[in-house]
Symmetry: C4
């Protein structure tokens, strides 16, 4: 009983800390949007509209981090205990999450720029690929041999989650070679993935 309650507290503080990092990273994204200073003869409206890549990047990264948070959230409902390796893997996923404002800012600043668009897209997609890979590593580490799972988690649920988790690296990783054909394909994939998620599905 004592052990079980101590472990519960353990996952709880890890989750609370993770929530903190997710919440901060998602809210810091807004700092990437610069207050526009209209040039001679330009209206503020025009200057604001001119910054559409910043709004796009803000919304896209917000939704992706939000999705990762939700997945993190539901995944940890199935995980009953933590150990050193889980803590480290979780720290690495938080590292990639807290990095997101940087590639977002780079993408926003180079989306309209033919020279930098490809590099910015690869940095952006690459960040999400790494994040998705670490996310998978957490799940595999916790679920293989039911190492850290709650007893009530069914085998079917494990398989479903394993399959769904694999989609992240496949789509984000797969977008990278496609970006070489055209960065817009990759950006289109990220947008569609985010929109798909927003559609309510049966849980």
């Amino acid at each position: 009983m004592e052990t079980s309650s101590e472990q519960a507290k353990d996952t709880q503080r890890l989750e609370a800390f993770s929530d903190g990092v997710f919440a901060i990273a998602i809210t810091l994204l807004v700092l990437e949007i610069r207050v526009p200073h209209p040039e001679e003869g330009e209206t503020l409206t025009r200057a604001l509209l001119h910054e559409w890549p910043s709004y796009f990047g803000f919304v896209l990264s917000f939704v992706v981090i939000g999705i990762i948070w939700l997945n993190h959230h539901t995944m940890f409902k199935d995980i009953s205990r933590s150990d050193h390796s889980l803590q480290i893997l979780n720290l690495l996923v938080l590292l990639s999450v807290s990095f997101v404002p940087f590639p977002t800012a780079v993408l926003a600043e180079n989306l309209k720029n033919d020279d930098g668009r490809l590099a910015a897209t690869l940095l952006y997609g690459g960040t999400f690929t790494v994040m998705a890979l670490i996310f998978n590593a957490i799940w595999l580490y916790a679920s293989v041999g039911r190492r850290l799972l709650h007893e009530h988690v069914t085998q079917v649920r494990i398989q479903t989650r394993t399959r769904r988790s694999a989609l992240g690296p496949i789509f984000y990783g797969g977008s990278l070679p496609l970006a070489l054909i055209s960065p817009w394909i990759a950006i289109g994939i990220y947008t569609v993935l985010a929109l798909l998620y927003l559609i309510p599905l049966n849980e």
Copy 2:
């Protein structure tokens, strides 16, 4: 019993994450206020006073986010469970909340500027209109057919909350056409709404 406690935890982590985003967005507002660098012959006092639109924007946005937080807080006392759609709607309201520092900075920088004041006001009021609309969507989604409500929530309380929630879109949305006559009317409405809320009413 198990299901109920699991669901309780569910809303709890959603609320904790939301609190985090609210707390960060409200505290990031201060970054919008620039440290003044007095020009030749100008005193620091004068330079500080010169920045009044930044203080005004800071306080106004702080109070509005604070109000939204309080409403979010009391609304979720009536909501017992969450599902995917509620999570998504909540994510969208957090998206609008975390965006607030940007229109606040734009408004503060253009309040004294005849050319940009209208666009800045529309951006500012528009952000709050969208936020209020999503906020209503959360409540309607949770309350219609008592989908996600606690059993102890009375029908009268549902109706009161539905009516009160509708005031946000009406006032913020209604301010937008009035801003076309003069941005100061809209800004006056936002100020009065914030002040009204600060007055203690019977709960």
Copy 3:
């Protein structure tokens, strides 16, 4: 029973939100310290040392916010319930806390500057005076007639807390006219107050 547990949760979320704002405001202070860019012939060491007012402001504001957080923390141990007025007063104290990074940056930038030092000190001390006044208002509102207090709080404890809370406005408010004689007197008072608090006393 139900009401009591619901109210407990109420204060809990208010405290959690407040903790969030305190934690963010205290951590944002570091953004005020600029990375120095040594001028021609200047070493980085010298450029770093040259920024001492930024370190001083960082540490001083950190300690003051830390103290306010600790006081907030212990005060809310005595408060059992919240109502609209308490929420609003608490929001106002958070408003003043989240504002602190701005006067801190202004003070740091003007501490070595004879022209701006007085105005910067008055802004800094004025912010803490307002914060201390609102803090007192919270306590008086909660404690007069034992409006929102736990039953177990003794009359002696109420009086002690009332007396101790009054020290904030007295010292911070009293520093302001003294700053007119010399800003260094006021800055000395803030420093001594912070140091005094760090000394462990009987609880």
Copy 4:
């Protein structure tokens, strides 16, 4: 019973506040990485690669703060109560944690710069030395005479933690004179320490 539950709540809010500061400090690190603006004839890829010291500093400081958080986390599992001195010591460790983004930015900006590298390394290593010293002070204060420890903490566990805590000041403090020979030695030590920690050990 009442006292015990009150004290539990006490440590809990201290831990929650600390988690907040850790989470924010660790996430603010990303703000140190500047969006590159390629010069004439330079590609974005090259400009991005050119910023490697910023990525290095980001990852290194992220891992170190993450480690400190984990240690803080496990240490407080053994601490059952808090008092004023513990609160103050904890505040001081948070002060050093929240300071980290500054030496990280200074190091990142001077790592490629022969003139500033030593001073930047000393500032960076010095910050971690101070942090490790305060961290030790917390543990010694709590553990000497079992002042604030849970009853279930064994004597062996106390000794293990005391020995392990002492490693921080030894390695970080010891790196400082070595930096005088070459800053790269100190930077190598910080890197190896971070990597060592990431390797899963028996708990």
